[in-house]
Assembly symmetry: C2
Homo-oligomer: 470 residues x 2
C-alpha cells in the first residue's frame, strides 16, 4: 500500500461526509468500537466509520478509497477472534450492520438471500414456521457476512459443515468498486472457478461481501441429547471416532476436559463428575433417535463411559447441555478480572488424543490456567487461556502455549485455525502451515487488490518475495 498523505485522507473524509452525512462517523468512541474485536489484540481505530445501507453505499466508499489507495475494512458485529477488523494501517471502516434485510426465503429450494449484516439469530427467527433453519452456529450472534468472511463453523459443523458448505453465492464489492455475483441458486455447478469459496474465508482481503445466498436445512423431525463421562481423554476421543465411523448421523458432539467441567460446576452450579465428558445431540425421526441414543450408549460403555444421561424435551436437553453452553464464562470465572485467549487448533481425528494430551502437558509446564473444550467430531479443540493481560510474563507464556498448539497441529497434518481465521494474529502460522502455496495466495491477492486496500495486513503479507509465476 502506498503511504497516504494526511491531507489526502482529510480530503477523502470530507468526500465521505458529503456523501453520507452523519452516517460517516468520526467520533473517537465509535472509531474505537470499530477497531477491536473480541480478541486480546489491541484496538486499532479506523480514521472514520461509514454506516452503509446498501451495496451501492459500499461500492461508493470503496471507489473513493481506491482512487487514493486508502484501506477499507468491513465490520459486521465485531465478534471475530484474531484481530480481523483492526485498522492496522488506518483507513475507512464500513459498518454493514444496517444492511440487515432478509431479501428472499425460498422454502421449496431450501435457500435464502440476505444482506451481509443479517445475524444468524435474526435469520433463524425469520425462518420460524417454515420448517427450515440455518444451522451454522459459531456461538456469537455474528453477522452472516462476517461468518462467511471467516469461514465460521461451530458445534453443528460435524453434521452441516461450515460456512464453506453453506454459502451458495456471494455479492462482492471488488477493490475497484465493481460489484460481482459469484454464483447462482443451483445446488451444484461446474461453471468456472469457484469464486464463492474463494471469498468465503478471505476475511475481506479480496473484496467486501454485501449479500449472501445461503443454503437452508430442514429442521430435524426430533432432537435428543446425551452426556457421558469417561475415565480419560483418550477413551472419550476413541468414542468419538467410533461413533463417527459407525455412520451415526450425529448432530453435535462436544468435549469438555475435567478442568472445564469443574469450572462449569462452579459457574453453573452443577454437580457433574469432574472427568472428561462428551455431550451429544441426535437428530432424526423418533425411531432413528432411539436407535442413535442406544448405539452411542453401547459405544460409550465399551470405552468405559459412565453416567450416560439422555433427554428429549427441549428443557431437559438444555439443562443437560448447560455446562457446554457456559464454557467461556465458566472458564473466565476461574480467575475473576482476567481475560480469555481462545486457541483454535484442528487436527485429523486420529491425532486428537495425542494433540490434546500434549496440550495439557504444555499448560502444566507453562504454569497456565487453560480449560479445554472441543468440537471433537471435527478434530477442533479450544483452550481458553485465562490470563491477566497486565502480566507481561504470563502473556508471553500464553503466546508460547498458543504457538506450541499451532505448530503441533500443523505437524500432525492439521491447521492452526479450525474456525477463527488468521486476522493479523496468525500470519506467521499461516505461512508455516501453507508453505509454498502462499505464493499462489499472494498472487491472487495482488491480482484482485493490486493497491492492497482491502483489509490490508490480514491473512497474508503482500511482498514481492512471492512473485514467482512470471
Amino acid at each position: 500500500m502506498t503511504a497516504v498523505a494526511k491531507s489526502e485522507k482529510a480530503q477523502i473524509i470530507t468526500q465521505l461526509r458529503e456523501l453520507f452525512g452523519e452516517r460517516c462517523a468520526l467520533g473517537q468512541t465509535i472509531r474505537d468500537q470499530h477497531g477491536k474485536d473480541v480478541s486480546f489484540h489491541p484496538t486499532c481505530p479506523p480514521d472514520a466509520v461509514v454506516f452503509a445501507k446498501s451495496t451501492q453505499d459500499v461500492a461508493a466508499v470503496v471507489d473513493i478509497c481506491h482512487a487514493s489507495s486508502v484501506p477499507v475494512i468491513p465490520f459486521g458485529t465485531g465478534t471475530s477472534c484474531e484481530g480481523g477488523i483492526g485498522a492496522i494501517s488506518g483507513g475507512i471502516c464500513i459498518d454493514l450492520s444496517q444492511m440487515n434485510a432478509i431479501l428472499e426465503v425460498n422454502t421449496a429450494d431450501f435457500d435464502c438471500r440476505v444482506q451481509a449484516g443479517v445475524t444468524r439469530k435474526q435469520l433463524n427467527a425469520e425462518l420460524h414456521g417454515t420448517g427450515l433453519h440455518f444451522p451454522i452456529d459459531p456461538g456469537a450472534d455474528a453477522s452472516l457476512g462476517g461468518m462467511a468472511s471467516t469461514r465460521a463453523s461451530g458445534t453443528n459443523a460435524v453434521r452441516y459443515g461450515t460456512m464453506r458448505d453453506n454459502v451458495m453465492s456471494l455479492q462482492v464489492v471488488m477493490s475497484n468498486g465493481e460489484i460481482i455475483e459469484t454464483g447462482g441458486r443451483a445446488r451444484k455447478s461446474a461453471a468456472g472457478y469457484d469464486l464463492t469459496r474463494l471469498f468465503t474465508g478471505a476475511e475481506g482481503t479480496l473484496g467486501i461481501i454485501t449479500e449472501l445466498t445461503l443454503r437452508l436445512h430442514p429442521l430435524p423431525e426430533g432432537v435428543s441429547a446425551a452426556r457421558c463421562g469417561f475415565p480419560s481423554l483418550q477413551t472419550a476421543i476413541d468414542t468419538v471416532i467410533q461413533v463417527i465411523q459407525t455412520g451415526i448421523p450425529i448432530g453435535r458432539i462436544e468435549f469438555l476436559d475435567e478442568l472445564q467441567v469443574a469450572a462449569c460446576n462452579r459457574y453453573s452450579k452443577l454437580n457433574l463428575p469432574e472427568v472428561p465428558t462428551l455431550f451429544f445431540e441426535f437428530q432424526g425421526s423418533p425411531a432413528s433417535l432411539a436407535e442413535q441414543v442406544e448405539m452411542v450408549e453401547a459405544i460409550a460403555r465399551d470405552n468405559g463411559g459412565s453416567g450416560y444421561a439422555w433427554a428429549t424435551t427441549p428443557e431437559a436437553r438444555s439443562q443437560l447441555w448447560q455446562a457446554r453452553h457456559d464454557v467461556w464464562w465458566a472458564a473466565l470465572a476461574l480467575r475473576p478480572g482476567c481475560q480469555g485467549i481462545p486457541t483454535d487448533a484442528c487436527v485429523p481425528i486420529s491425532m486428537l488424543g495425542d494433540a490434546a494430551v500434549a496440550a495439557r502437558r504444555d499448560v502444566l509446564e507453562l504454569g497456565l490456567t487453560a480449560p479445554m473444550c472441543g468440537h471433537v467430531g471435527d478434530g477442533n479443540f479450544h483452550l481458553c487461556i485465562v490470563v491477566n493481560p497486565d502480566d507481561a510474563d504470563e502473556m508471553t507464556r500464553a503466546a508460547e502455549l498458543n504457538a506450541r498448539l499451532m505448530r503441533r497441529a500443523i505437524r500432525l497434518g492439521g491447521t492452526c485455525t479450525g474456525e477463527h481465521g488468521i486476522g493479523y494474529g496468525k500470519l506467521d502460522f499461516l505461512e508455516l502451515e501453507r508453505g509454498p502455496s502462499m505464493h499462489a495466495m499472494v498472487a491472487i491477492k495482488k491480482a484482485l487488490d493490486p493497491r492492497n486496500i482491502m483489509n490490508p495486513g490480514k491473512v497474508l503479507r503482500v511482498t514481492d518475495r512471492y512473485d514467482t509465476f512470471q
Copy 2:
C-alpha cells in the same frame, strides 16, 4: 499465449524425448487418442504425449514448456464431456494414468491420499473391507484428478455432495513448475484462501493436480431401492421436492422421462410403464430404511404415483435400477449409428418442472430425438440429444436446443453446467452466466498462469478486456 515457433517446439520435443525416452510418444494414434474426450467436439491432437510416473515428471514437463510458453494439457481417462482435453493450440499432453498409486488410507480419519491417475473404481476396490467408500460417481470410471478438475458429481451428489465437498487437499504443479499443497487433513480449516476449491473445477487451467487427499464415507449399514411411475413430469418433480423437504436422507433420486423409459424398455428388455419415473436409493439402518421407504411411498402416492416397487437385496436393487443404469446406451440405440450430445442444465429445484417442460417443448419444436434423465434431487437434468453428426442441419438444431436449455437455466437462477464443466464447448455460456465475475476469474488466471500455458482456451478467454482492478 505467445505463438510458438515450429523450431522451438521441435527443440522442446527433443528435450522431452531425452528426458522421458519412449514415455514421450509422438505417434499419430496416441496423439489422436489424447486429443479427444467422449464429447462430439473434434479431435485436437497434442504435439506429443508424455506419460508421467511422478509429480516430478509433471513438474519437469511444465518447467520445460514454461520456458518457451508451450501449452500443457493434463489427461486422465479422456472421459470429459466438453472438449476439456483437446490441444486446441497444440502443446504437450501429460497423461497421468500411470500415476495410479493409492498412497494412504486412513480409516480412523475417513480420508485417503491418491495419485491423480487413480480411478474411482480402483479406489473403491482398494477400500473393500475397510467399511469406507468414496461415493462420488459420475458414471464413467474417471480418474480422481480429472473428477476434481471438472468438479464432477453424479447420482450420489444429493447425499454426499460433489467433488467440491470431498476433496480435502490437492498437490498441484503450478505454471512455473513449482509444486504446492493446497490444504491439510483437518476436516475443517479457516486458514487462508481456499485454494483447494479454486483448483477443484479449474479444469487444469490454473495448474495440474498430481495428488489428492479425499474424504471417505462409512458404507451405509443397509441399502434399499424403489421405483415409481407418475402421471406427469410435474407430479414426479413435486414428489422430489417434498421428499427432500421432509429431510429424508435420500441416497439417490433419479428421474427418467417417458421417452427414456421407452428407450430403456427396448434396450434392456424391460416392461416398465412408459410414464415419467423416479428411481430412489435409501441408505441407513434397517429401522431407518423401512421408515424411509414408507415415507417416500406415502409422498409418491399423494402425488399420483403408481406401481411403487421396492427391493433390498443387491440383485433385486440392481434389477430395479436397470433402466437407470442403461440410459445412455438405451438412448443411443433409438437411432443406431448416431451419436449422443449430453446437455447439463441445473436449476433450483422449484424451477425444475418449468425447465423440463420447456425443454421437452423445445425438443418437439426443433424436431430432435432427446430423451431426458436427471439427478433431480440437485435440479440437474440431462437430455441425450441423439444426432447424426454428418447431418449439418440436425447438428445446428442440436446446438440450438443445447443453447436454449443453458440460457433458460441461467435465467432461472441456475447454471449451464451442473457437472460436466466448461471445456471449450461452453465458453460463451459461462460468460453469460457469470457476467462481471469473469473479470475476477481472468485476473486469477493471469496471476497464476501469466504465460497462458495451462490448458489454454478452456474455461475462459484470456483477454485484456478484463484488466479492471488496477
